[in-house]
């Protein structure tokens, strides 16, 4: 085990006292088991295949204590940063604590519940017991186990069968310098009942320059014929660590559509595991890493086709500038029974500077023969032909570069159905592009 793992083990008993749900025996047991598993293995290293390209040493160099102090007050200047999603139902967490002032989820339609994890453990512990830490586990569970052991807050959303929620639900996590040197172990649960429909937007925003650690696990269940659109914006502070894991279980004829944009933090990992536990499923995972200055942004996905006749389509891109580094690992598994699977994946990486680095590892693990599977990956700079074409029409080189870079990204946004979310992401992207050195942004 790594040395740092042992530091967490030493301090675990002391942290336990501050955790919610101590009165629930099943939860205490779950936490203890999870922590024991973590204690046995410690932090993953680069020898762990799933972490081959992400070195956790910067995160592991020190202990981040769970954020338990009640510092969850919305700073006066912050609301302007909240992506404006119009009529969205919003639940807000500041520095890992629920913040009722900014939250606007009182007018939810019948059949929809949106609670904090703390509330849910009090009001509906059985619901949590049924859905927490299901069997849809990632290959390397260290951070899931740590999260289960130490989770303090998060959002719980349930949509009853047949309910179609029109306005998006916004889970907003804000971290300020008040949370410096601490860890937010957040746990979100989203349950979309049979035939229901909803759009969820998760956003993580850091306003300061301090080091902190967001360790978030989002567990999702999309029941038969339900449709869930799930979008995420990761815009943590520049020194932040963001380790996120989304575990989604999808049932017969359901749709799960995920889009994640990562552009913040100094070291960030967005891991998605989609278990296609049914037939006729339409699963779409898309996303983009926007990395400039010095961050390390990692997107890791696993799509596990457990049953026959489902479809997945995956497109991830990275734009890498300055000294940044990005990682894409995309595994598609087709189990022996999952005949008639169609699975297609594309990963494209755009390098903008001489010091930038992109690593990609698409992976097909196919155990059924009647399938159509493919993946493609590219790493390159901007297309020279396209650059010349734009210049030959009178655009300056800088304008042409920035237009092509923007196009590389915006192409991805066009598929997002909800206009307010699409615009919020477009806005975040435009800000990012404007800060890009060397491409001017004068299109």
């Amino acid at each position: 085990m790594t040395q740092i793992g042992s530091a967490y083990i030493e301090r675990y008993p002391e942290w336990q006292n501050g955790l919610p749900g101590r009165n629930l025996a099943w939860l205490s047991e779950l936490r203890a088991d999870a922590f024991a598993r973590f204690a046995e293995r410690g932090f993953p290293t680069r020898k762990t295949e799933a972490w081959k390209y992400t070195n956790l040493a910067p995160l592991a160099k020190d202990v981040f204590a769970p954020q338990t102090a009640a510092s969850g007050k919305m700073p006066a200047t912050v609301p302007a940063h909240i992506p404006d999603l119009g009529t969205a139902h919003r639940i807000v967490f500041v520095n890992g604590r629920a913040e009722s002032d900014g939250s606007t989820h009182n007018a939810l339609p019948k059949g929809v519940r949106l609670m904090t994890l703390g509330e849910a453990l009090k009001e509906a512990p059985d619901l949590i017991a049924d859905h927490l830490a299901t069997d849809n586990k990632p290959e390397e569970p260290a951070f899931l186990d740590m999260n289960t052991a130490l989770m303090t807050e998060g959002a719980v959303l349930t949509i009853e069968p047949g309910v179609e929620l029109e306005a998006p639900v916004h889970l907003f996590f804000l971290t300020t310098d008040a949370a410096a040197r601490s860890a937010m172990h957040l746990r979100n649960l989203i349950m979309a009942g049979k035939g229901s429909a909803a759009t969820v937007f998760e956003s993580y925003l850091g306003t300061g320059k301090a080091e902190y650690w967001t360790n978030v696990v989002t567990e999702i269940r999309v029941e038969e014929k339900a449709r869930l659109h799930h979008h995420k914006l990761q815009s943590e502070g520049e020194a932040a660590y963001h380790i996120a894991m989304t575990l989604t279980k999808i049932e017969d004829h359901a749709t799960y559509d995920s889009f994640a944009m990562s552009l913040g933090g100094s070291l960030a990992r967005n891991e998605i595991r989609a278990l296609l536990d049914g037939s006729g499923i339409d699963c779409r995972l898309n996303g983009i890493n926007l990395a400039r200055q010095r961050p390390h942004l990692d997107t890791t996905t696993t799509i596990d086709h457990a049953k026959p006749g489902s479809t997945c389509n995956e497109t991830y891109k990275s734009v890498v500038g300055d000294h940044a580094e990005t990682v894409f690992q995309g595994k598609i598994i087709v189990r022996p029974d999952a005949q008639k699977t169609a699975a297609h994946q594309l990963n494209r990486n755009l390098l903008l500077s001489d010091e930038a680095q992109a690593n990609t590892k698409p992976e097909l693990r196919i155990h059924a023969d009647d399938v159509q599977c493919s993946h493609g990956a590219t790493v390159s700079e901007l297309d020279e032909q396209a650059l010349f074409y734009l210049r030959s029409r009178g655009l300056s080189e800088n304008a042409a570069r920035s237009l092509l870079t923007e196009a590389f990204v915006t192409e991805m946004l066009d598929d997002i159905e909800n206009i307010s979310i699409r615009e919020a992401l477009r806005h975040a992207m435009a800000d990012w592009l404007a800060g890009l050195s060397g491409t001017g942004g004068q299109a």
Partner: protein
Amino acid sequence: MPNLLEIQNLHVTVEDKEILRGLTLTVPAGEAHAVMGPNGSGKSTLAHVLAGRPGYEVTKGDIRFRGKNLLEMAPEVRAREGVFLGLQYPVEIPGVSNMYFLKAALNALRTHRGEQELDAVEFLKIAREKATLLEIDENLLQRGVNVGFSGGEKKRNEIFQMALLDPTLAVLDETDSGLDIDALKVVANGINALRSPERAILMITHYQRLLEYIVPDKVHVLSDGQIVETGGKELALELEKTGYATFEKKRAPDVAASAPAQSA
């Protein structure tokens, strides 16, 4: 008529291979010229060099455009000065809408000329007008540049861009290739509508088919990197009959002796 374009003894190397070997050509304002030649003679190289494509190294010679040294200008400056290249294979640019792109291009040109930039409404008005001329569906304007366009649509889009950008010299590289007869007529009509005493058009083509619809003032035969014959429009017909072989013999003996196989 003053010469709009003057090319003197142009030598161009691509990836260490000499493709143009002393090409000399002049095009006066108000005229349409055709450059014809077999595959590998250097036609496309000529087109790209005029537009300033990176990777084409001019080792000798001179190109003057309205008396200015064209070779000193970046590709975008050439475009703003009034040189337009219609590409044989227009590039697809997903994520950039045709409209956005053309508005940016036209405004870059207008700024260069000291004219006011157009706002979206003004631009749209002009764009619609030109689109009608080329029978371009307005939906294509909203789509990504050339993305999902058929071969014919791409070529029409090139001429549409030309109409919009209003160049002084239009270099059209194999504009007829891949067009069926109906599309060819539309494209030819579009080009003919743009002929004017101030403008010159240089058509680069393998076949004389295009020249039935856009009658050139002069035809030049390009072989092995040099112009080996210049004549009137009847020259194109002669080429059609006899092929290029007759003309290949006419090239300068020193060039013929040292000519390796090449591609343009």
